[in-house]
Symmetry: C2
């Protein structure tokens, strides 16, 4: 490892506050680089950081734009810092590569949290596929853990498949909902409700009757899903819960953290937290292998040369799709 990287490693894992913060940013920038030599250095650095990772609680938070994620995460972050925690906030915004900038990137969204010395906020990587953005976020999460942040929050907007990516890199997945009927159906439809370990109905103070209705609907939906997995009275298994809160008024933030802590204790005690992480790591390895295979295939000279004509043949119905696939695979080898 080059001396500069060894110094970076030392600063991330045990530096003083200010150089440490700068070292985290530098490391993440290196991880996000697409240059091959940077990538090789980043891989070495990542492996060297690994023994220092894994000691945080990883909390995923998802919700559609306008649900109040930033307000909630700021309130939660300040609450946690008050309890003595150090909090990192990362984001996955799959739209950022389209818009050229992250809609979650504005640190001023979390004005008080972002200037706190016990907090570290990093916006979404702003280029690449969802898989690439998720990979860089996942690696940033490891850097934050190695730097001693003991709560890492990964947030995402409810568009595309980013919820699955976030649920796949966190210990607990929280879905934020507005007190609207229909909102739940969308979440069920998209398969996001199924991922949720906890559903939070924000802005519950605005229309209490609607919030109560939404809560009943979500509870019954969660129960129905649960029926296919577990016994309803098995208390060694976490049953997803529904909470109401008002992030703006900071109502319900302590109850939220209480529930998260119950979940964490149960999952730790039963070994399911460690099991979930092992499964995530292996799934992640395969996800990256698949993405890499696709990228290599599509950039292969012989494939690139013959693909347009073969695709036209398939579209015009002169070559069967499966035959075209076999020909392309033969060209690749």
């Amino acid at each position: 490892m080059p001396a500069a990287d060894a110094a970076l490693l030392a600063q991330v894992t045990c530096g003083d506050a200010v150089p440490r913060r700068r070292a985290i940013a530098k490391t993440i920038t290196l991880l996000e680089s697409t240059r091959a030599d940077h990538r090789a250095r980043a891989d070495d650095l990542l492996n060297a950081l690994l023994p220092h990772t894994g000691r945080s609680f990883r909390l995923g938070i998802s919700g559609v734009p306008g649900v109040g994620k930033s307000t909630f995460i700021e309130a939660l972050g300040l609450h946690l810092i008050g309890l003595g925690h150090r909090v990192a906030v990362l984001a996955i915004d799959p739209s950022s590569s389209v818009s050229g900038g992250s809609i979650l990137g504005d640190k001023t969204r979390m004005e008080r949290l972002s200037v706190h010395e016990s907090a570290y906020i990093r916006p979404s990587p702003s280029s690449g596929t969802l898989g690439g953005v998720a990979e860089r976020t996942r690696e940033s999460l490891l850097v934050c853990e190695a730097a001693g942040y003991d709560i890492v929050i990964v947030e995402t907007v409810g568009v595309g498949q980013s919820e699955t990516a976030v649920a796949g890199m966190t210990d607990m997945f929280v879905l934020m909902q507005l007190p609207n009927a229909g909102d739940d159906l969308q979440a069920i439809k998209k398969g996001v409700m199924e991922l949720a370990d906890l559903v939070v109905i924000n802005k519950a103070d605005i229309d209490e009757a609607a919030a109560t209705r939404a809560r009943a609907q979500i509870t019954s939906a969660l129960r129905l899903f649960g029926l296919h997995g577990h016994q309803p009275h098995d208390d060694t298994v976490w049953h997803p819960k529904v909470l109401q809160l008002s992030a703006l008024k900071s109502h319900g933030v302590d109850a939220f953290w209480q529930t998260v802590s119950e979940y964490r204790d149960l999952q730790t005690r039963t070994g399911r937290l460690a099991q979930r992480r092992r499964g995530q790591d292996e799934a992640w390895m395969w996800e990256r292998v698949d993405a890499g295979l696709k990228a290599r295939f599509r950039s292969h000279p012989a494939v690139r040369e013959h693909l347009p004509a073969l695709r036209d043949d398939v579209r015009q119905g002169t070559v069967a799709a499966s035959v075209a696939a076999r020909r392309l695979l033969d060209l690749f080898h």
Copy 2:
């Protein structure tokens, strides 16, 4: 092309009834073979059959075991033969590779249809992954079209991802439901409701009140999904419908076919049927490429040699998942 295959081709596309039926079975058997020389012959045969394909209507039908698919397909098939059609029925049963035999394989399920000279029934291929089973079914569908069956029905049980595979190879996807609340929620949850161009509530005569409730729920769910795609009053766009019927009593079969015909007319007139097929062909090509890449990767000697140790490293947290993925990809090349 060998003389035997040329003869097969001629028999499939313009033989007399009995040798034609035998030629179809022989061709499909060749397509299902895993021998490399068979596969090469099958590819040539498939491409030669292609100009004779595409003239049928491809109807996908899905539903959980017990919903009454066989009874319905028999009633529908006999109805269609009465109207002068020739009907082929294929099946995708992803569980057949586990159980060693297709639960849909029993031709006696459709006693009257299976012996009719205007019908051809083929059970699910009984080995391989869902992707492999779907590929062989998709190719069998082309053979049936080349043999002049002008309605091809592809049925599947509502387990696993087989519904997506069937919707991806048919012109219209029909979901059969029982008049149960909860049944719809499961379909919404699994993302199957979204695929449906038509939802059929079978056994509606047993509990009319429940069927009416289910119909209202499904209608409102379909409307909510539709809101995100199309204008509700755009009549150049198909809006998924819900029908009640009783397959056992053959009630509603003619209304069902009437609705299917309206759909087919609209999709043909607007060009969406041709567009859907082109999209399916291309998606299928890529699906097969991806599956082939994965298979080649996993059977690559260097990958096989190093995978177990690297996977252990990832599980034990000594190598980062993304680093392990990059190493495996480098071994592959």
